[in-house]
């Protein structure tokens, strides 16, 4: 009896405290909102937003609803996160491998990079790139073309746009190629398990992914042309580029600093992962007659990935959350568009901040569920 009481009382007290705190907050919120004449509700989401957003992936202007503004912000956040994650991973893996290089200069260079970028606050780096470094770029009329088609100017990066005809046929061909590759891999595995023969899966896959889209160009009527940005004079001293895709400097500064910063952490994860695979594993693999490529692919990488994936997932999550710093340089991400402009206009603090937080929460949770699933897939299967 006494034991049971001992188990229940602390729990009851904790729950009571939590309930009291929440009750206190909601009670105050109700009184405050009554006093200020604000009513609680999410009806404003369908109202007309009447503000513009500079950079948007979907069609949007002031006549659209607040919900659409929310979507614009969310898509911009996802865009920055995805680009940042891709670049950070590439750079992180290169630097992580370089830190293990036997070449003294290379590993010192990599170590310097990691120590340097890791110890400076991300916000400072974003400010540096946006306010100092990118401001030193040439004006549109003075910009030199890189490779003839890219223009890096103070107003952003202009790249050629793709103009597709029959894009859907091209996409179908790629999907068909991927399905074919999956089927062939399954078949190759079966052949190897039953007959011990190895099919040249890599070459077949490479051929398929190359030839099928090529066929779609030749037979399927797909064509691709480029729209190269052209300089256009607005006034005597004001120039812009027309045509092509333009990436605003905010986006460039943000992805650059996010990628450079997060890459240092990913590099450390990669280094730890590769170091975590014992030397004996490689020697054992070599001694049963695997060639160096197979040693890497079948023995080292699966084990290293097992160590690398969980902390790297964390870094991906951090990058996604850090992308909210965009608000500081006026890149229209979720925080700026929704928790900034929309909140100013509607004054619905509780609703908007809670939606923003829930969005980030679900983004984080979905990435971590995805990564947990992958992690479980490659984890050691103990019998």
């Amino acid at each position: 009896m006494n034991l049971k009481l001992q188990k229940i009382v602390p729990q009851l007290i904790t729950v009571l405290v939590v309930v009291l705190v929440f009750g206190f907050f909601t009670y105050n919120a109700q009184i405050n909102m009554e006093n200020r004449g604000i009513d609680f509700g999410y009806g404003f989401l369908s109202q007309e937003s009447s503000f513009d957003v500079q950079f948007s992936l979907i069609e949007y202007d002031g006549s659209h609803s607040y919900f659409r503004a929310y979507l614009v912000g969310l898509l911009n956040t996802i865009l920055v996160s995805v680009i940042g994650i891709i670049f950070a991973t590439i750079l992180g893996v290169i630097v992580g491998v370089a830190r293990l290089s036997p070449n003294y200069l290379i590993n010192q260079f990599a170590a310097f990079y990691v120590e340097f970028f890791r110890n400076i606050p991300l916000l400072l780096q974003i400010f540096f790139w946006y306010f100092a470094a990118l401001r030193a770029l040439p004006l549109p009329q003075d910009a030199d073309a890189m490779l003839g088609v890219f223009f890096l100017t103070i107003k952003g990066l202009y790249v050629p746009a793709f103009i597709w005809e029959n894009l859907n046929v091209f996409l179908y061909s790629i999907i068909a190629a991927i399905i074919a590759i999956v089927v062939i891999r399954i078949h190759a595995r079966k052949v190897q398990e039953t007959q011990g023969k190895q099919l040249p899966v890599f070459w077949i896959s490479a051929g398929l992914i190359f030839i099928l889209p090529l066929l779609s160009f030749l037979i399927g009527g797909v064509s691709l042309s480029f729209e190269i940005p052209k300089l256009k004079q607005l006034a005597t001293t004001s120039f812009i580029y027309e045509g092509g895709l333009s990436l605003p400097p905010e986006l460039i500064a943000l992805t650059l600093s996010l990628a450079l910063y997060t890459a240092t952490f990913i590099a450390e994860c990669v280094r730890a992962g590769i170091q975590g695979v014992g030397k004996g594993q490689k020697e054992a693999a070599a001694s049963i007659g695997l060639n160096p490529n197979q040693v890497l692919k079948l023995v080292v990488m699966p084990q290293a990935l097992r160590i690398i994936i969980p902390p790297t997932t964390n870094q991906y999550l951090n990058l996604t959350k850090n992308s909210s710093l965009a608000a500081a340089i006026a890149y229209p991400d979720l925080v700026l568009v929704f928790a900034g402009t929309a909140l100013m206009q509607t004054g619905k603090a509780i609703e908007i901040v809670s939606i923003t937080m829930l969005t980030y929460l679900s983004l984080s949770i979905s990435i971590s569920i995805l990564m947990n699933w992958y992690n479980k897939k490659i984890a050691i299967k103990e019998k």
């Binding site: 105050n28 003294y104 200069l105 400076i120 606050p121 916000l123 540096f128 925080v335």
Partner: protein, 480 residues
Amino acid sequence: MSKINFLKPDKENLNTFLYLGSFLFVISVIDVFLNSFFSLNITGFLPSSLSFLIPIILGFVGLYFIRIEHSGHKFLDQVNKNINTNNFNAVLSLLIIFIIIKATPPILSWFVVDASFAGDSKDVCSGTGACWTYIKVWFRRFMYGMYPNAEQWRINLSFIALALLGSVGYFATEKFKKYLTLYYVVIYPFIAFLFIFFFISGGPVFFDFSYGIIAAVVSIIIGFFIPGKFKFYYFIFVPITLYIALKYFIFYEELIELGKLDGLNWVETGAWGGLSLTFIISFFCLIFCFPIGMAFALGRRSDFPLIRYISIGFIEFWRGVPLITVLFMSAVMFPMFLPEDFFIDKLVRAIIAISLFEAAYVAEVIRGGLQALPRGQYEAAKSLGMGYWKMHIFVILPQALKLVIPGIANTFLALVKDTPLIFVVGLLEIVGMLNLAKTNPEWLGFAMEGYVFAAIIFWIICYAMSKYSYNLEQKYKTER
């Protein structure tokens, strides 16, 4: 003399290859060196693309010639092993050497040679280098924010005093060593708070928290005499009751003359800023987030399901949202949740928000340490008849915390690096001050200098912290 095969360097003709290779390598380095330092182009007679590639080709051939294994020449072997193991590595090494040589002159000239240091107006900054005059003129603002110039000695004095008090641990004799934990966990933060509240802020002697402090101190003192059986319940109820009694029944605020320390002007927190604010915020968040994080780490591993779920909810919530939205919440949403006449200073709100946020990360780190301890430790402690608290305080936590020193240090580093985000609530620490100074019409165009300056300061702080944590880790490493 035997025939020399230039495609296959060998040990036989060691000297020939060594001299030839070193000569080519040195030539390539000299070419790049002259090119970048004195803008002399000694290969100018060649077409420009070739002239660009020639040092790499020369250096590559040179390194190829001196790549002789087991040459018996000590220095040569060392070089070959470290930077010249194969063709690929040789090219990379060359590229890095050339990049360093190429990058040195512009960096040097920007930082030192062409930079302006003298004077106190923008006019001296006409050169191509950095304008350190800008930093010099704005230095006080970057360090102290809008804190009045005449009062800045208060910040300096407080920081010096706190640094001295903080270093007590190094000088403590064996006799006092056992009290150090108590000192650092309870007494030192309390002294720091008093310094900052009374000295830097010049706040009134009696304020809302005084009741809380009095209640806490009194109840802790009485708590020593309470039998262990009731301690838990005692500490849950008595301090709160005492606080309410003090605040609402015993002292009426009208009865107390709001006193201040003599001669100190009150400086509102909105005027604080610069690097000193970075330190103040990091310090308090660091102190608060640690016990909160520890509590939730224990809560997450608790046997009581309700406590466990509440802890999990707390931790996962804070870990899932970005700090900037938390600060947004503390700025626009939090005031809605409080009684209307209840005002919390925005600095305090920011500190609470950052502490709760970082506490979730600390909790996860500490949980990692708790999980890493073998079950035997728990069982051994229990078999000695220790209760939950005794077991954790004397057996589990000391070992677990030792294990997670690197993780905790990383969290604290993240905390320091997150402080610039307080611009969201309108507080300007050093990065915020930089952004303010950069928009000053008299000092336009020196953003670069400011950011480089702040980056150097943050880098030094963070690097020192990480090195210190590494030392701690080495010091407390115990053989297992």
